[in-house]
């Protein structure tokens, strides 16, 4: 229902501002352009999206996901020490982080949810510090290959759709660091 309000609000605001600002004829033709652009964009990015989705599926079939998971266990042991004591939770956590890294959102969410459920056992509906950190890890997207964005760039005629990768990695790393630092500070000062 939230999106119904957002969408209606956007359309109503454009019409209202279009009348006040005398841009209403542009607003009308923009509506048609926008709908057409959505289909063009999807068709334009279909090739890149399908190709990378295929490559990811090959990686999964090769067991690269499991290899990556093993790599993350020591790091997660430091970040979420209580959760990491339970081997099943640790397996779900490291699978979650590696699936996120490979951009396999469909695989990442069930694993993360499984870990969150196990971590929430016995905490009485109150988010522990480690649960907050898990959420920060998952909301700050860390993706090696942001394929959707590359697909959009390719559809719009970018010279090299993947040339933004180093910038994406840097920005993701800074964003995760900031989130974990904020969580660390909040955990000391949050009163409840």
């Amino acid at each position: 229902m939230a999106m119904a309000w957002v969408w209606s609000g956007m359309v109503a605001a454009s019409v209202l501002y279009g009348i006040l600002n005398d841009t209403i004829d542009a607003v009308g033709s923009a509506a048609m352009e926008g709908a057409a652009a959505a289909v063009e964009l999807c068709l334009g990015m279909a090739g890149v999206m399908c190709l990378w989705s295929g490559v990811m599926s090959v990686m999964r079939a090769c067991g690269l996901l499991d290899g990556l998971s093993r790599l993350f266990r020591p790091l997660l042991g430091r970040l979420l020490p209580n959760a990491a004591r339970d081997p099943d939770t640790l397996a779900a956590l490291s699978g979650n982080v590696s699936a996120n890294l490979l951009g396999l959102g469909n695989a990442a969410t069930p694993l993360g949810v499984k870990a969150a459920r196990r971590m929430a056992a016995g905490c009485g509906g109150r988010a522990t510090d480690e649960l907050c950190r898990l959420v920060v890890l998952n909301t700050a997207s860390i993706q090696l290959l942001p394929t959707t964005v590359a697909g959009v760039r390719g559809a719009l005629g970018a010279a090299n759709p993947f040339d933004i990768l180093p910038a994406v990695w840097l920005a993701s790393a800074l964003s995760v660091t900031a989130g974990l630092l904020a969580a660390g500070i909040f955990s000391k000062i949050w009163r409840d």
């Binding site: 607003v27 599926s57 090769c62 459920r117 959420v135 040339d163 933004i164 994406v168 989130g179 909040f186």
Partner: protein
């Protein structure tokens, strides 16, 4: 020589040979995954039609520019280009909404322009925060979210600032 030119072809060859070495039917896995990619696209197309329509209307009316110019002094302090203002508000709430705004920015300014690249990096380095929190805490039965939302939103803000910073640094 631009090393990022190697990335795509070398990765494709590596994955193919690595898979063959592990006796994986690489081609089957590839086409199976490509079909899943089609499903993802079919899933986002309807919401993209709705949202791109609204975003194009908002842009054409001038309301988006108004919001950008109102917030420009604050955004300038943070090093965030005011043109991306719509993305900042929509990104934590709606994934396809953010994709709509981001792709409109890339189309309007060009995918290889400063604004186009910042929009792309912002999309690639942040997540749909509220959705993620709802899924994780909802399924784990957490009602008291404590500082999870402010911490995650701070991470988003840091992501937006770093996106602009990273593009300035790497594409100067």
């Amino acid at each position: 020589m631009d090393y990022s030119a190697y990335l795509v072809p070398v990765l494709l060859a590596f994955v193919a040979l690595f898979g063959l070495g592990r006796r994986v039917n690489v081609y089957d896995a590839l086409t199976q995954g490509a079909r899943e990619g089609l499903d993802i696209l079919a899933g986002i197309l309807p919401s993209l039609v709705g949202l791109l329509t609204a975003v194009y209307m908002l842009r054409a009316s001038g309301a988006m520019d108004l919001l950008g110019s109102l917030l420009a002094p604050v955004l300038a302090r943070l090093g965030i280009p005011p043109e991306t203002v719509g993305l900042l508000f929509v990104r934590p709430v709606s994934g396809s909404g953010a994709l709509a705004i981001g792709s409109e920015l890339m189309a309007a300014y060009g995918p290889d322009s400063y604004i186009g690249r910042v929009a792309a990096v912002m999309l690639g380095s942040t997540e749909t925060t509220f959705y993620t929190i709802a899924v994780y805490f909802g399924s784990a039965g957490i009602r008291k979210t404590r500082y999870a939302i402010p911490a995650a939103l701070l991470a988003d803000l840091a992501g937006f600032m770093s996106a602009a910073f990273a593009v300035r640094l790497l594409f100067a």
